[in-house]
Symmetry: C2
């Protein structure tokens, strides 16, 4: 086990009808609120009205800024920073899923960055913000885990680079999670969200750090929860208990806890980010495609871990001398699981061919020695993994 530090300071407020409480939590962050949201689904399902009512009941002033798209754009972040400065807002309320929260985080930190090249110095060269406007969250899509962590992933729409930054100052102060607000998510969104949660667990599970049994078991417990409940959420979209298991697991999957003491991987997320930067594919579906391919390419690096994964997570019960069959059966079960959720697990299913493999692999390692930690992926490795995903 590696040395680590850990805290989870975000006040999670979880349960039925908790959105109504947003005003009282927001009031503690300031008077003038940037209300940041996405494409308008919150207006159709009533969340918008509940939020506005709760904010107004606390006499808060609201500056609206909607329209965040999946794979949130840097151009919109810049626009948001301008609005915050002109309108002198005190704090930001993100109402939505990972894209909206990530956009809010980037605006919140960018607000204080004035005489530097925000994209280049921070997103490309990894300088860390030290100050940010305080952020509150109403989580309407359980997936990204961004509601209690320090990270944001932004796509630069001019350069087609997708990059992340993270800092303690960007951790949301509170996150309201009402599983009832997830009832109206379309099946495809639910499947993508669940896959994203599973991916956050897998990025931590596949490590070369030894003596991490406790976090292994916690990760396996979380994976088994998702494997059980994701298909049920598609069958019963408005079942509170099913949505609640997924929502709570989604937050814990990515609040930092489950990766403590172990080196995490993140190679597959990086491979997916390059896909997402060019093709604007939904993040969860990109992960359903890239994870099986990544696994097939890297399992030789630590077969024992993949045997454990097959046995403990997927209940593969092969003879112990058939290591490779056990491993491949585990990967196959996972791929079939994603497919049964209604997602593509190969690039050809979403009409992506190999023309950009070279470019994506090139960009993956630009400015760094390798991507991923379980196996250090170079450009050539990335091309081969994209090929396995064809």
């Amino acid at each position: 086990m590696n040395n680590f530090t850990y805290k989870s300071p975000t006040q999670v407020v979880f349960g039925k009808d908790t959105v109504k409480e947003v005003g009282q939590y927001m009031k503690a962050l300031g008077k003038r609120v940037l209300l940041h949201y996405g494409g308008g689904s919150i207006k159709r399902n009533g969340i918008y009205d509940t939020v506005i009512q709760s904010l107004k009941a606390q006499d808060l002033e609201i500056v609206e800024f909607g329209g965040v798209v999946p794979n949130p754009r840097y151009s919109m972040v810049l626009e948001g920073i301008d609005i915050c400065r002109k309108e002198q807002v005190d704090c930001i309320l993100a109402v939505g899923g990972g894209s909206v929260i990530d956009s809010a985080k980037a605006i919140a930190a960018g607000y204080y960055i004035e005489n530097e090249d925000y994209w280049n110095d921070y997103f490309m060269v990894h300088k860390r913000p030290t100050q940010a406007l305080p952020i509150g969250v109403v989580l309407t899509i359980p997936a990204a885990g961004s509601e209690t962590n320090r990270g944001t992933v932004i796509t630069n729409d001019q350069t087609a680079f997708k990059r992340s930054i993270g800092a303690d100052c960007m951790i949301p102060k509170f996150a309201i999670i009402d599983p009832q607000t997830h009832y109206s998510l379309p099946a495809y969104q639910t499947a993508c969200g669940c896959t994203d949660i599973i991916a956050h667990l897998l990025e931590r599970y596949f490590t070369q750090t030894t003596n991490v049994d406790f976090s292994d078991r916690l990760l396996e417990a979380s994976l088994k929860t998702m494997i059980h409940y994701a298909p049920l959420a598609l069958q019963h979209p408005d079942d509170y208990d099913i949505r609640a298991e997924i929502a709570w697991c989604g937050t814990i999957a990515h609040n930092g806890l489950l990766g403590k003491g172990r080196q995490e991987d993140w190679g597959t997320h990086d491979l997916q980010h390059e896909l997402g930067a060019i093709y604007d594919i939904t993040h969860g579906e990109g992960l359903a495609i890239m994870f099986p391919a990544w696994m097939k390419y890297v399992y030789h690096e630590n077969p024992t871990r993949f045997v454990q994964f097959a046995h403990r997570v997927w209940d593969v019960d092969y003879a112990y001398d058939k290591e490779e069959e056990t491993i491949l059966a585990g990967i196959e079960k996972m791929e079939r699981f994603f497919h049964d959720l209604g997602l593509a697990t190969r690039l050809h299913e979403i009409q992506i061919d190999e023309r950009d493999f070279e470019t994506m692999a090139e960009k993956l390692v630009l400015g760094r020695d390798h991507a991923g930690n379980f196996m250090h992926l170079k450009k050539e490795d990335a091309i081969r993994i994209y090929q396995l995903a064809k």
Copy 2:
């Protein structure tokens, strides 16, 4: 699943040689430090010297107050409050296990309570402190979980009542956990500490709240970790990796996370507290005695949960139509496990007979309708459980 709120703001600093960093974390809490510790084992094993050196390197002023005993005393809390006021300390550093941390928490909150009856109004009538001196922790015994939570349990040495209070203001600001400092723990202490950790998991596991699968699985993962590593720690007391698994599990077991969304029980802790108030028995051993007895008395209240416990935690693999045999086999395996750790699991083994059963049962329910939540324990129930523990 029930509605809940959750955060875990304590900065955990975990790993090899982290005690050396205590000065820099303490400095953020103030200049003048009450150094609170127990019976002097930290002087024998070198932790004391490391702490003093680190505090002095940051020019902090140290006011020493050692001598905390297991089942920490209210009289000592009052003495600590006096010292803090006279010496005008800014903050408290607790170096020890749960007793020292609990004593520090009670001093920290009591510091601000001047014109009230601290014991009666807060510990007996459950008023909640709103202010406390900031607390830092160096954890030398993984067991109590007090290092990241809001609770404290204190024994009033005049009235022989053992009672708890909890408030956000008493949550430690940081907790340094170096598993190397646990090497010198005697086997008995290690066994008691591991049993206490397991008991914190069990108090949350046994619930009547339904649809709590995710937290069930996390609890089962934690229990299996403890069942695997507790005996290994007795065999290899200075194995870093074994101590690390136990230490990290001990913190997570009791930082609040694993009980979220479910009603917790705590009847067995309360039964043990009444034992501890009279007999000064070690907390972990008291739990090893009381848990099997409690289980044998209450399993009829929800047999399915006890079947799941036997199956998933203890790998009892009976025929599905033999519910009661399955349940009793699970409880028996657990009792044997505690016994194999070197602990008593019956009262007669530690020379306690039934003469005080009536008194303890009486005190258990004094000022409240019942103890515990899984089954509401009245005085008569408590007497029968003590009898099952004979």
